[in-house]
Protein backbone atom coordinates (compact mmCIF):
# COMPACT_ATOMS: atom_id res chain seq x y z
CA UNK A 1 0.00 0.00 0.00
CA UNK A 2 1.52 3.34 -0.98
CA UNK A 3 0.76 6.70 0.57
CA UNK A 4 1.64 10.21 -0.45
CA UNK A 5 2.47 13.12 1.81
CA UNK A 6 2.51 16.73 0.76
CA UNK A 7 4.90 18.56 3.02
CA UNK A 8 5.99 22.14 3.46
CA UNK A 9 9.27 22.27 5.35
CA UNK A 10 11.71 24.92 6.44
CA UNK A 11 14.86 25.08 4.33
CA UNK A 12 17.27 23.96 7.01
CA UNK A 13 20.49 21.90 6.98
CA UNK A 14 19.73 18.16 7.07
CA UNK A 15 15.96 18.73 6.84
CA UNK A 16 15.53 16.26 3.98
CA UNK A 17 17.84 13.69 5.61
CA UNK A 18 15.75 13.97 8.76
CA UNK A 19 12.54 13.25 6.85
CA UNK A 20 14.05 10.28 5.01
CA UNK A 21 15.59 8.87 8.18
CA UNK A 22 12.23 8.87 9.92
CA UNK A 23 10.61 7.14 6.91
CA UNK A 24 13.19 4.34 6.99
CA UNK A 25 13.43 4.00 10.76
CA UNK A 26 9.66 3.80 11.20
CA UNK A 27 9.42 0.93 8.75
CA UNK A 28 8.52 2.45 5.37
CA UNK A 29 10.12 2.39 1.93
CA UNK A 30 10.61 5.43 -0.23
CA UNK A 31 8.87 5.15 -3.58
CA UNK A 32 9.22 8.63 -4.96
CA UNK A 33 10.34 12.05 -3.89
CA UNK A 34 9.85 15.45 -5.46
CA UNK A 35 11.42 18.51 -3.91
CA UNK A 36 10.77 22.10 -4.98
CA UNK A 37 12.68 24.92 -3.38
CA UNK A 38 10.57 28.02 -2.77
CA UNK A 39 13.44 30.43 -2.27
CA UNK A 40 11.32 33.45 -1.49
CA UNK A 41 9.46 31.92 1.44
CA UNK A 42 12.46 30.01 2.78
CA UNK A 43 10.36 26.84 2.55
CA UNK A 44 10.62 23.66 0.56
CA UNK A 45 7.69 21.76 -0.91
CA UNK A 46 8.05 18.00 -0.76
CA UNK A 47 5.88 15.32 -2.31
CA UNK A 48 6.79 12.04 -0.69
CA UNK A 49 5.38 8.64 -1.61
CA UNK A 50 6.12 5.71 0.66
CA UNK A 51 4.99 2.12 1.06
CA UNK A 52 4.84 -0.09 4.09
CA UNK A 53 2.75 -2.55 6.04
CA UNK A 54 2.48 -0.55 9.26
CA UNK A 55 -0.42 1.88 9.74
CA UNK A 56 0.46 5.05 7.83
CA UNK A 57 -0.81 7.18 10.71
CA UNK A 58 2.17 6.04 12.78
CA UNK A 59 4.53 7.57 10.21
CA UNK A 60 2.35 10.64 9.80
CA UNK A 61 2.56 11.39 13.52
CA UNK A 62 6.32 10.88 13.61
CA UNK A 63 6.88 13.16 10.61
CA UNK A 64 4.54 15.74 12.10
CA UNK A 65 6.81 15.95 15.14
CA UNK A 66 9.82 17.08 13.09
CA UNK A 67 10.65 20.64 13.98
CA UNK A 68 11.47 21.59 10.40
CA UNK A 69 8.11 20.48 9.03
CA UNK A 70 5.68 23.40 8.87
CA UNK A 71 2.77 21.58 7.25
CA UNK A 72 2.02 17.94 6.53
CA UNK A 73 -0.87 16.44 4.63
CA UNK A 74 -1.50 12.78 3.97
CA UNK A 75 -3.20 11.88 0.73
CA UNK A 76 -4.12 8.25 0.15
CA UNK A 77 -2.85 6.62 -3.05
CA UNK A 78 -6.35 6.48 -4.50
CA UNK A 79 -7.02 10.11 -3.68
CA UNK A 80 -3.71 11.11 -5.18
CA UNK A 81 -4.73 9.55 -8.48
CA UNK A 82 -8.08 11.31 -8.31
CA UNK A 83 -6.42 14.65 -7.71
CA UNK A 84 -4.11 14.21 -10.70
CA UNK A 85 -7.05 13.17 -12.89
Amino acid sequence: MSHTFNIIAKQQPAMLERVLRVVRHRGFNLQSLNVADCTESGNVEIELTVSGVRPIETLQKQLDKLYDIAHLELTSAADAVAIRA
Partner: protein, 546 residues
Protein backbone atom coordinates in the same frame (compact mmCIF):
# COMPACT_ATOMS: atom_id res chain seq x y z
CA UNK B 1 31.48 40.22 22.44
CA UNK B 2 32.61 37.00 20.79
CA UNK B 3 30.30 34.22 19.73
CA UNK B 4 31.81 32.08 22.49
CA UNK B 5 30.97 34.70 25.12
CA UNK B 6 27.47 34.93 23.68
CA UNK B 7 27.00 31.18 24.13
CA UNK B 8 27.64 31.53 27.85
CA UNK B 9 25.41 34.62 28.11
CA UNK B 10 22.55 32.65 26.56
CA UNK B 11 23.15 29.76 28.98
CA UNK B 12 22.84 32.23 31.86
CA UNK B 13 19.64 33.64 30.38
CA UNK B 14 18.20 30.16 30.63
CA UNK B 15 19.27 29.83 34.23
CA UNK B 16 22.12 27.41 33.55
CA UNK B 17 24.66 27.52 36.37
CA UNK B 18 26.48 24.23 35.76
CA UNK B 19 27.71 22.50 32.61
CA UNK B 20 29.59 19.24 32.05
CA UNK B 21 32.16 18.76 29.35
CA UNK B 22 35.62 18.16 28.02
CA UNK B 23 37.69 20.68 26.02
CA UNK B 24 39.40 20.21 22.68
CA UNK B 25 40.63 22.14 19.65
CA UNK B 26 37.39 23.17 18.00
CA UNK B 27 35.68 24.30 21.20
CA UNK B 28 38.62 26.17 22.72
CA UNK B 29 37.07 29.64 22.28
CA UNK B 30 34.08 28.57 24.41
CA UNK B 31 36.41 27.12 27.06
CA UNK B 32 38.39 30.37 26.99
CA UNK B 33 35.14 32.27 27.62
CA UNK B 34 34.27 29.84 30.43
CA UNK B 35 37.48 30.88 32.18
CA UNK B 36 35.84 34.22 33.13
CA UNK B 37 32.23 33.11 33.20
CA UNK B 38 29.89 32.64 36.13
CA UNK B 39 28.76 29.39 34.51
CA UNK B 40 30.58 26.65 36.39
CA UNK B 41 32.09 23.91 34.26
CA UNK B 42 32.63 20.39 35.57
CA UNK B 43 35.40 18.56 33.80
CA UNK B 44 34.43 14.95 33.29
CA UNK B 45 36.98 12.37 32.17
CA UNK B 46 35.19 11.28 29.02
CA UNK B 47 32.55 13.05 26.95
CA UNK B 48 30.14 10.15 27.57
CA UNK B 49 30.54 10.88 31.27
CA UNK B 50 29.70 14.54 30.58
CA UNK B 51 26.55 13.58 28.66
CA UNK B 52 25.36 11.23 31.42
CA UNK B 53 26.14 13.81 34.10
CA UNK B 54 23.93 16.26 32.19
CA UNK B 55 21.24 13.56 32.06
CA UNK B 56 21.55 12.93 35.82
CA UNK B 57 21.43 16.67 36.47
CA UNK B 58 18.27 16.98 34.36
CA UNK B 59 16.53 13.92 35.79
CA UNK B 60 17.23 14.73 39.42
CA UNK B 61 15.85 18.28 39.08
CA UNK B 62 13.32 17.97 36.23
CA UNK B 63 15.18 20.79 34.48
CA UNK B 64 17.55 20.98 31.51
CA UNK B 65 21.12 19.60 31.65
CA UNK B 66 23.94 20.96 29.50
CA UNK B 67 27.02 19.19 28.17
CA UNK B 68 29.71 20.24 25.73
CA UNK B 69 32.44 18.63 23.70
CA UNK B 70 34.81 19.33 20.88
CA UNK B 71 34.40 18.26 17.27
CA UNK B 72 34.97 14.78 15.86
CA UNK B 73 35.66 12.23 18.60
CA UNK B 74 34.46 14.60 21.32
CA UNK B 75 31.06 14.74 19.66
CA UNK B 76 30.94 11.02 18.87
CA UNK B 77 31.55 10.30 22.54
CA UNK B 78 28.45 12.31 23.42
CA UNK B 79 26.27 10.24 21.10
CA UNK B 80 25.47 7.39 23.52
CA UNK B 81 24.40 9.81 26.24
CA UNK B 82 22.19 11.72 23.81
CA UNK B 83 20.60 8.50 22.57
CA UNK B 84 19.91 7.54 26.17
CA UNK B 85 18.30 10.94 26.77
CA UNK B 86 16.19 10.55 23.62
CA UNK B 87 14.76 7.18 24.63
CA UNK B 88 13.97 8.41 28.15
CA UNK B 89 12.76 11.88 27.00
CA UNK B 90 15.31 13.84 29.02
CA UNK B 91 15.88 17.55 28.30
CA UNK B 92 19.56 17.97 27.50
CA UNK B 93 21.28 20.64 25.41
CA UNK B 94 24.59 19.51 23.91
CA UNK B 95 26.97 22.09 22.51
CA UNK B 96 29.70 20.86 20.19
CA UNK B 97 32.58 22.82 18.73
CA UNK B 98 33.08 22.32 15.01
CA UNK B 99 36.02 23.09 12.73
CA UNK B 100 36.02 26.38 10.82
CA UNK B 101 33.07 26.62 8.41
CA UNK B 102 35.51 26.85 5.50
CA UNK B 103 36.98 23.47 6.49
CA UNK B 104 33.68 21.63 6.95
CA UNK B 105 33.37 18.95 4.31
CA UNK B 106 37.11 18.80 3.64
CA UNK B 107 37.95 15.95 6.06
CA UNK B 108 39.87 18.40 8.21
CA UNK B 109 41.50 17.32 11.48
CA UNK B 110 38.80 16.22 13.94
CA UNK B 111 36.11 17.09 11.45
CA UNK B 112 33.09 14.82 11.38
CA UNK B 113 29.53 15.34 10.20
CA UNK B 114 28.15 15.88 13.68
CA UNK B 115 24.81 17.19 12.43
CA UNK B 116 24.37 14.07 10.31
CA UNK B 117 25.41 11.86 13.21
CA UNK B 118 22.99 13.56 15.57
CA UNK B 119 19.82 12.87 13.59
CA UNK B 120 19.04 9.50 15.13
CA UNK B 121 19.92 10.42 18.72
CA UNK B 122 18.36 13.84 19.24
CA UNK B 123 14.93 15.42 19.26
CA UNK B 124 16.43 18.07 16.99
CA UNK B 125 19.85 19.42 16.09
CA UNK B 126 21.32 22.53 14.58
CA UNK B 127 24.51 23.68 12.95
CA UNK B 128 25.06 27.43 13.22
CA UNK B 129 25.88 28.82 9.78
CA UNK B 130 25.82 32.53 10.55
CA UNK B 131 26.80 34.30 13.73
CA UNK B 132 23.64 36.40 13.53
CA UNK B 133 21.67 33.20 14.15
CA UNK B 134 23.76 31.96 17.08
CA UNK B 135 21.63 33.37 19.90
CA UNK B 136 18.28 32.49 18.35
CA UNK B 137 19.47 28.95 17.59
CA UNK B 138 20.53 28.42 21.20
CA UNK B 139 17.22 29.80 22.47
CA UNK B 140 15.36 27.43 20.16
CA UNK B 141 17.49 24.57 21.46
CA UNK B 142 16.49 25.28 25.06
CA UNK B 143 12.82 25.66 24.17
CA UNK B 144 12.75 22.48 22.12
CA UNK B 145 14.58 20.41 24.73
CA UNK B 146 11.96 21.26 27.35
CA UNK B 147 8.74 21.69 25.40
CA UNK B 148 6.16 19.02 24.64
CA UNK B 149 7.83 15.66 25.10
CA UNK B 150 11.31 16.66 26.31
CA UNK B 151 14.47 15.40 24.66
CA UNK B 152 18.08 16.12 23.77
CA UNK B 153 18.97 18.92 21.33
CA UNK B 154 22.43 19.43 19.86
CA UNK B 155 23.91 22.72 18.62
CA UNK B 156 27.08 22.40 16.50
CA UNK B 157 29.04 25.66 16.45
CA UNK B 158 31.93 26.14 13.99
CA UNK B 159 35.05 27.79 15.38
CA UNK B 160 34.76 30.90 13.20
CA UNK B 161 31.32 31.54 14.72
CA UNK B 162 32.81 31.17 18.21
CA UNK B 163 35.55 33.74 17.57
CA UNK B 164 33.40 36.14 15.50
CA UNK B 165 32.05 39.43 16.90
CA UNK B 166 28.38 39.75 17.78
CA UNK B 167 26.12 42.00 19.83
CA UNK B 168 24.26 40.58 22.80
CA UNK B 169 20.56 41.28 22.81
CA UNK B 170 18.22 40.40 25.65
CA UNK B 171 15.75 37.69 24.78
CA UNK B 172 12.39 37.34 26.49
CA UNK B 173 11.88 33.68 27.37
CA UNK B 174 8.48 32.85 25.86
CA UNK B 175 5.68 31.40 27.95
CA UNK B 176 5.26 27.66 27.60
CA UNK B 177 2.47 26.72 25.25
CA UNK B 178 0.00 24.36 26.91
CA UNK B 179 -1.94 22.03 24.64
CA UNK B 180 -5.68 22.27 25.09
CA UNK B 181 -7.53 18.98 25.42
CA UNK B 182 -10.99 18.28 24.07
CA UNK B 183 -13.71 18.19 26.75
CA UNK B 184 -15.62 15.53 24.77
CA UNK B 185 -12.70 13.13 25.07
CA UNK B 186 -12.52 13.76 28.81
CA UNK B 187 -16.21 12.89 29.12
CA UNK B 188 -15.65 9.68 27.13
CA UNK B 189 -12.74 8.76 29.39
CA UNK B 190 -14.77 9.48 32.53
CA UNK B 191 -17.60 7.30 31.24
CA UNK B 192 -15.15 4.44 30.68
CA UNK B 193 -13.73 4.88 34.19
CA UNK B 194 -17.17 5.02 35.79
CA UNK B 195 -18.29 1.89 33.94
CA UNK B 196 -15.16 -0.15 34.61
CA UNK B 197 -15.27 -3.02 37.09
CA UNK B 198 -11.51 -3.63 37.11
CA UNK B 199 -9.70 -0.40 36.19
CA UNK B 200 -5.98 0.10 36.70
CA UNK B 201 -3.61 3.03 36.26
CA UNK B 202 -0.40 2.27 34.32
CA UNK B 203 1.84 5.13 35.41
CA UNK B 204 4.96 6.04 33.47
CA UNK B 205 7.71 8.64 33.60
CA UNK B 206 5.57 11.24 31.86
CA UNK B 207 3.75 12.14 35.07
CA UNK B 208 6.88 13.27 36.89
CA UNK B 209 8.23 15.00 33.82
CA UNK B 210 4.97 16.95 33.46
CA UNK B 211 5.38 18.05 37.09
CA UNK B 212 2.01 16.51 37.84
CA UNK B 213 2.81 14.06 40.65
CA UNK B 214 0.50 15.93 43.01
CA UNK B 215 -2.35 15.87 40.48
CA UNK B 216 -1.91 12.14 39.83
CA UNK B 217 -1.96 11.27 43.52
CA UNK B 218 -5.01 13.48 44.05
CA UNK B 219 -6.73 11.64 41.20
CA UNK B 220 -5.81 8.28 42.73
CA UNK B 221 -7.10 9.39 46.12
CA UNK B 222 -10.38 10.45 44.55
CA UNK B 223 -10.93 7.43 42.34
CA UNK B 224 -9.27 4.81 44.57
CA UNK B 225 -8.24 2.93 41.45
CA UNK B 226 -5.36 0.44 41.80
CA UNK B 227 -2.15 1.74 40.24
CA UNK B 228 1.05 0.21 38.86
CA UNK B 229 4.29 1.91 37.85
CA UNK B 230 6.81 1.43 35.07
CA UNK B 231 10.57 1.63 35.67
CA UNK B 232 10.52 5.37 34.96
CA UNK B 233 7.30 5.80 36.89
CA UNK B 234 8.72 4.45 40.16
CA UNK B 235 8.46 7.07 42.90
CA UNK B 236 5.48 8.78 41.27
CA UNK B 237 2.71 7.05 43.21
CA UNK B 238 2.67 7.86 46.91
CA UNK B 239 4.02 4.70 48.58
CA UNK B 240 1.31 5.01 51.24
CA UNK B 241 -1.48 4.87 48.64
CA UNK B 242 -3.40 1.75 49.70
CA UNK B 243 -4.05 0.57 46.14
CA UNK B 244 -0.49 0.93 44.83
CA UNK B 245 0.34 -2.52 43.47
CA UNK B 246 3.94 -2.01 42.41
CA UNK B 247 6.41 -2.32 39.57
CA UNK B 248 5.15 -3.82 36.32
CA UNK B 249 6.73 -5.58 33.35
CA UNK B 250 9.44 -8.13 32.62
CA UNK B 251 10.83 -8.03 36.16
CA UNK B 252 7.82 -6.48 37.83
CA UNK B 253 6.06 -8.13 40.72
CA UNK B 254 3.80 -11.03 39.92
CA UNK B 255 0.94 -9.30 41.72
CA UNK B 256 1.24 -6.25 39.46
CA UNK B 257 1.43 -8.21 36.26
CA UNK B 258 -1.45 -10.51 37.18
CA UNK B 259 -3.64 -7.52 38.07
CA UNK B 260 -2.77 -5.69 34.84
CA UNK B 261 -3.50 -8.81 32.81
CA UNK B 262 -6.93 -9.11 34.42
CA UNK B 263 -8.00 -5.47 34.28
CA UNK B 264 -10.90 -4.32 32.11
CA UNK B 265 -9.66 -0.73 31.79
CA UNK B 266 -6.04 0.32 31.45
CA UNK B 267 -5.40 4.01 32.02
CA UNK B 268 -1.97 4.50 30.49
CA UNK B 269 -0.66 7.75 31.94
CA UNK B 270 2.59 9.09 30.52
CA UNK B 271 3.81 5.69 29.36
CA UNK B 272 4.29 4.08 25.97
CA UNK B 273 3.61 0.32 25.94
CA UNK B 274 7.32 -0.50 25.89
CA UNK B 275 8.02 -4.18 25.18
CA UNK B 276 9.71 -4.54 28.58
CA UNK B 277 6.37 -3.56 30.12
CA UNK B 278 3.94 -5.42 27.89
CA UNK B 279 5.63 -8.74 27.22
CA UNK B 280 4.02 -10.28 24.13
CA UNK B 281 2.03 -7.28 22.99
CA UNK B 282 -1.12 -9.01 21.77
CA UNK B 283 -1.48 -10.79 25.10
CA UNK B 284 -1.02 -7.67 27.23
CA UNK B 285 -4.12 -6.80 29.30
CA UNK B 286 -6.12 -8.67 26.69
CA UNK B 287 -9.60 -7.79 27.98
CA UNK B 288 -8.92 -4.15 28.72
CA UNK B 289 -10.20 -1.05 27.10
CA UNK B 290 -7.47 1.57 26.97
CA UNK B 291 -7.38 5.24 27.86
CA UNK B 292 -4.05 6.67 26.75
CA UNK B 293 -2.95 10.01 28.21
CA UNK B 294 0.26 11.60 26.93
CA UNK B 295 1.86 14.80 25.69
CA UNK B 296 3.09 13.06 22.52
CA UNK B 297 0.29 12.08 20.17
CA UNK B 298 2.69 9.87 18.20
CA UNK B 299 2.43 7.39 21.08
CA UNK B 300 -1.31 6.94 20.52
CA UNK B 301 -1.88 3.76 18.58
CA UNK B 302 1.84 3.17 18.01
CA UNK B 303 1.68 -0.20 19.73
CA UNK B 304 -1.77 -0.52 21.32
CA UNK B 305 -4.89 1.04 19.87
CA UNK B 306 -6.56 3.20 22.53
CA UNK B 307 -10.32 3.51 22.98
CA UNK B 308 -9.81 7.10 24.09
CA UNK B 309 -6.58 9.06 23.65
CA UNK B 310 -6.09 12.50 25.13
CA UNK B 311 -3.11 14.75 24.57
CA UNK B 312 -2.78 17.34 27.24
CA UNK B 313 -0.87 18.97 30.07
CA UNK B 314 -1.29 16.51 32.93
CA UNK B 315 -1.53 19.29 35.50
CA UNK B 316 -4.86 20.21 33.94
CA UNK B 317 -5.88 16.94 32.35
CA UNK B 318 -5.58 14.65 35.39
CA UNK B 319 -7.85 16.70 37.69
CA UNK B 320 -10.45 16.77 34.91
CA UNK B 321 -10.71 12.97 35.01
CA UNK B 322 -11.89 12.72 38.61
CA UNK B 323 -14.84 10.35 38.80
CA UNK B 324 -16.06 8.16 41.64
CA UNK B 325 -15.78 4.40 41.27
CA UNK B 326 -17.43 1.44 42.89
CA UNK B 327 -14.80 -1.27 42.69
CA UNK B 328 -14.46 -2.73 46.16
CA UNK B 329 -14.17 -6.31 44.88
CA UNK B 330 -11.41 -5.37 42.47
CA UNK B 331 -9.51 -3.42 45.12
CA UNK B 332 -9.72 -6.45 47.40
CA UNK B 333 -8.49 -8.72 44.60
CA UNK B 334 -5.48 -6.47 43.95
CA UNK B 335 -4.68 -6.29 47.66
CA UNK B 336 -4.89 -10.07 47.93
CA UNK B 337 -2.55 -10.49 44.97
CA UNK B 338 -0.11 -8.06 46.57
CA UNK B 339 -0.13 -9.98 49.83
CA UNK B 340 0.13 -13.34 48.09
CA UNK B 341 3.13 -12.29 45.99
CA UNK B 342 4.93 -10.01 48.46
CA UNK B 343 8.73 -9.91 48.15
CA UNK B 344 10.58 -12.26 50.48
CA UNK B 345 14.02 -11.63 51.93
CA UNK B 346 14.59 -14.84 53.89
CA UNK B 347 17.23 -16.31 51.58
CA UNK B 348 19.10 -19.31 53.00
CA UNK B 349 22.86 -19.42 53.58
CA UNK B 350 25.43 -16.92 54.83
CA UNK B 351 26.04 -15.19 51.51
CA UNK B 352 24.68 -11.75 50.76
CA UNK B 353 21.25 -11.70 49.14
CA UNK B 354 21.39 -8.51 47.05
CA UNK B 355 17.63 -7.81 47.15
CA UNK B 356 17.73 -7.93 50.97
CA UNK B 357 20.77 -5.67 51.08
CA UNK B 358 19.13 -3.11 48.78
CA UNK B 359 15.91 -3.22 50.77
CA UNK B 360 17.86 -2.62 53.96
CA UNK B 361 19.88 0.15 52.32
CA UNK B 362 16.66 1.81 51.19
CA UNK B 363 15.30 1.87 54.72
CA UNK B 364 18.53 3.33 56.13
CA UNK B 365 19.09 6.14 53.63
CA UNK B 366 18.08 9.66 54.60
CA UNK B 367 14.56 10.60 53.46
CA UNK B 368 15.86 12.79 50.65
CA UNK B 369 18.32 10.83 48.57
CA UNK B 370 19.02 9.98 44.95
CA UNK B 371 19.78 6.45 43.78
CA UNK B 372 21.43 6.20 40.39
CA UNK B 373 21.88 2.72 39.05
CA UNK B 374 23.56 1.10 36.13
CA UNK B 375 22.09 -1.56 33.89
CA UNK B 376 21.62 -5.24 34.52
CA UNK B 377 20.53 -7.47 37.38
CA UNK B 378 21.32 -4.91 40.07
CA UNK B 379 19.18 -2.34 38.21
CA UNK B 380 16.15 -4.61 38.41
CA UNK B 381 16.84 -5.39 42.08
CA UNK B 382 16.92 -1.64 42.76
CA UNK B 383 13.57 -1.23 40.99
CA UNK B 384 12.05 -4.15 42.87
CA UNK B 385 13.43 -3.68 46.35
CA UNK B 386 14.16 0.01 46.97
CA UNK B 387 11.46 2.58 47.68
CA UNK B 388 11.33 6.01 46.10
CA UNK B 389 9.39 9.10 47.06
CA UNK B 390 9.91 10.84 43.71
CA UNK B 391 10.94 9.77 40.20
CA UNK B 392 13.64 12.47 40.50
CA UNK B 393 15.25 10.28 43.15
CA UNK B 394 15.55 7.20 40.94
CA UNK B 395 17.93 7.61 38.01
CA UNK B 396 17.92 4.61 35.73
CA UNK B 397 18.57 4.10 32.06
CA UNK B 398 15.18 2.80 30.99
CA UNK B 399 14.67 2.96 27.24
CA UNK B 400 18.28 2.63 26.17
CA UNK B 401 19.51 0.41 29.00
CA UNK B 402 22.97 1.95 28.84
CA UNK B 403 25.65 0.33 30.97
CA UNK B 404 27.94 3.02 32.36
CA UNK B 405 25.02 5.34 33.14
CA UNK B 406 25.07 5.13 36.92
CA UNK B 407 28.29 6.76 38.07
CA UNK B 408 28.23 9.88 35.84
CA UNK B 409 24.45 10.33 36.31
CA UNK B 410 25.00 10.31 40.09
CA UNK B 411 27.70 12.97 39.64
CA UNK B 412 25.19 15.16 37.80
CA UNK B 413 22.62 14.66 40.56
CA UNK B 414 25.17 15.42 43.29
CA UNK B 415 26.10 18.71 41.63
CA UNK B 416 22.46 19.64 41.01
CA UNK B 417 21.41 18.78 44.57
CA UNK B 418 24.53 19.20 46.72
CA UNK B 419 22.66 18.70 49.99
CA UNK B 420 21.12 15.41 48.90
CA UNK B 421 22.89 12.10 49.38
CA UNK B 422 23.68 10.65 45.97
CA UNK B 423 24.05 6.87 45.86
CA UNK B 424 25.27 4.77 42.94
CA UNK B 425 24.20 1.15 42.76
CA UNK B 426 26.30 -0.53 40.11
CA UNK B 427 27.40 -3.94 38.97
CA UNK B 428 30.93 -5.05 38.23
CA UNK B 429 30.22 -5.00 34.49
CA UNK B 430 28.58 -1.58 34.29
CA UNK B 431 30.97 0.06 36.75
CA UNK B 432 33.94 -0.48 34.45
CA UNK B 433 32.12 1.20 31.54
CA UNK B 434 32.62 4.73 32.88
CA UNK B 435 35.02 4.02 35.74
CA UNK B 436 37.13 7.01 34.69
CA UNK B 437 34.49 9.24 36.29
CA UNK B 438 35.96 8.33 39.68
CA UNK B 439 38.42 11.03 38.60
CA UNK B 440 35.54 13.54 38.53
CA UNK B 441 34.55 12.51 42.07
CA UNK B 442 38.14 13.05 43.19
CA UNK B 443 38.54 16.37 41.39
CA UNK B 444 35.42 17.91 42.91
CA UNK B 445 35.52 15.93 46.18
CA UNK B 446 31.98 14.75 45.65
CA UNK B 447 30.55 12.75 48.59
CA UNK B 448 29.04 10.07 46.37
CA UNK B 449 28.24 6.69 47.89
CA UNK B 450 28.90 3.70 45.65
CA UNK B 451 27.45 0.24 46.17
CA UNK B 452 29.21 -2.11 43.79
CA UNK B 453 27.42 -5.44 43.57
CA UNK B 454 29.99 -7.86 42.25
CA UNK B 455 29.11 -11.32 41.01
CA UNK B 456 32.15 -11.44 38.71
CA UNK B 457 29.80 -11.85 35.80
CA UNK B 458 27.84 -9.87 33.27
CA UNK B 459 24.93 -11.08 35.31
CA UNK B 460 21.87 -10.30 33.22
CA UNK B 461 23.40 -11.66 30.03
CA UNK B 462 24.60 -14.70 31.95
CA UNK B 463 21.08 -15.20 33.33
CA UNK B 464 19.69 -15.24 29.78
CA UNK B 465 22.44 -17.62 28.68
CA UNK B 466 21.43 -19.92 31.50
CA UNK B 467 17.72 -19.74 30.67
CA UNK B 468 17.63 -19.38 26.91
CA UNK B 469 21.06 -20.35 25.51
CA UNK B 470 21.66 -23.78 27.06
CA UNK B 471 24.07 -22.47 29.71
CA UNK B 472 26.65 -21.52 27.06
CA UNK B 473 28.33 -18.70 28.97
CA UNK B 474 29.87 -16.78 26.12
CA UNK B 475 32.01 -13.82 27.28
CA UNK B 476 30.20 -13.17 30.53
CA UNK B 477 32.82 -14.34 33.03
CA UNK B 478 34.46 -11.32 34.70
CA UNK B 479 36.39 -13.20 37.36
CA UNK B 480 39.49 -11.26 36.29
CA UNK B 481 37.96 -8.01 37.57
CA UNK B 482 40.44 -5.54 39.05
CA UNK B 483 40.79 -5.16 42.80
CA UNK B 484 38.05 -2.59 43.29
CA UNK B 485 39.38 -1.46 46.67
CA UNK B 486 42.77 -0.65 45.17
CA UNK B 487 41.00 1.13 42.34
CA UNK B 488 38.97 3.22 44.80
CA UNK B 489 42.11 4.04 46.78
CA UNK B 490 43.76 5.44 43.65
CA UNK B 491 40.98 8.05 43.61
CA UNK B 492 41.12 8.75 47.38
CA UNK B 493 37.85 6.93 47.96
CA UNK B 494 37.69 4.83 51.13
CA UNK B 495 36.16 1.41 50.66
CA UNK B 496 35.23 -1.90 52.22
CA UNK B 497 34.36 -5.37 50.93
CA UNK B 498 31.61 -7.48 52.46
CA UNK B 499 30.96 -11.17 51.74
CA UNK B 500 28.56 -12.30 54.45
CA UNK B 501 25.02 -11.26 55.24
CA UNK B 502 26.15 -10.70 58.79
CA UNK B 503 28.38 -7.84 57.53
CA UNK B 504 25.64 -6.04 55.61
CA UNK B 505 24.51 -3.71 58.37
CA UNK B 506 28.05 -2.57 59.21
CA UNK B 507 28.78 -2.15 55.52
CA UNK B 508 25.76 0.06 54.96
CA UNK B 509 26.58 2.08 58.08
CA UNK B 510 30.13 2.66 56.83
CA UNK B 511 28.78 3.71 53.44
CA UNK B 512 26.33 6.23 54.88
CA UNK B 513 28.28 7.52 57.85
CA UNK B 514 31.76 7.95 56.38
CA UNK B 515 32.32 11.59 55.44
CA UNK B 516 32.77 12.08 51.72
CA UNK B 517 32.67 9.37 49.09
CA UNK B 518 32.71 5.67 49.91
CA UNK B 519 32.72 2.47 47.92
CA UNK B 520 30.99 -0.57 49.40
CA UNK B 521 32.11 -3.62 47.47
CA UNK B 522 29.48 -6.35 47.82
CA UNK B 523 30.57 -9.83 46.79
CA UNK B 524 27.60 -11.99 45.85
CA UNK B 525 27.05 -15.46 44.46
CA UNK B 526 27.06 -15.55 40.67
CA UNK B 527 24.18 -18.03 40.75
CA UNK B 528 21.74 -15.43 42.09
CA UNK B 529 19.29 -14.37 39.39
CA UNK B 530 16.54 -11.78 39.04
CA UNK B 531 13.06 -13.17 39.66
CA UNK B 532 10.37 -13.14 38.58
CA UNK B 533 10.94 -12.86 34.85
CA UNK B 534 8.76 -12.77 31.76
CA UNK B 535 10.63 -14.69 29.08
CA UNK B 536 10.94 -13.03 25.68
CA UNK B 537 7.86 -13.64 23.53
CA UNK B 538 5.76 -14.70 26.51
CA UNK B 539 2.74 -13.07 28.11
CA UNK B 540 3.13 -11.28 31.44
CA UNK B 541 0.95 -13.79 33.29
CA UNK B 542 3.43 -16.52 32.32
CA UNK B 543 6.13 -15.14 34.64
CA UNK B 544 8.88 -17.53 35.71
CA UNK B 545 9.50 -17.36 39.45
CA UNK B 546 12.89 -19.03 39.61
Amino acid sequence: MTGAQLVLKVLQQHGIKHVFGYPGGAIMPIYDALYDSEVEHFLCRHEQGAAFSAVGYARSTNSVGVCMATSGPGATNLVTGLGDALLDSIPVVAITGQVFSSLMGTDAFQEMDVLGMSLAVTKHSFVVEDISELASTLHQAFELAQSGRPGPVLVDIPKDIQVGAVDFEPYPIPEKQIPVFEPDLVEQAKALIAAAKKPIFYVGGGVGMADSIEQLNALLDYTQIPAAATLKGLGTIDPSYPHYIGFMGMHGSKATNMAVQECDLLICTGARFDDRVTGKLDTFAPNAKVIHLDIDKAEFGKLRQPDVAIRGDFRELLPALAVKTDIAQWQAKCSALKTEHAWRYDAPGEGIYAPALLNQLSSKLPHDHVVSCDVGQHQMWVAQHMQFTSPRNHLTSGGAGTMGFGLPAAIGAQIARPDTMSVVVSGDGSFMMNVQELGTIKRFRLPIKIVLIDNQRLGMVKQWQELFFEERYSETNLSDNPDFLTLAKAFDIPSKTIHSKFDVEAGIDALINTDGPFLLHVAIDEKENVWPLVAPGKANHEMIEG
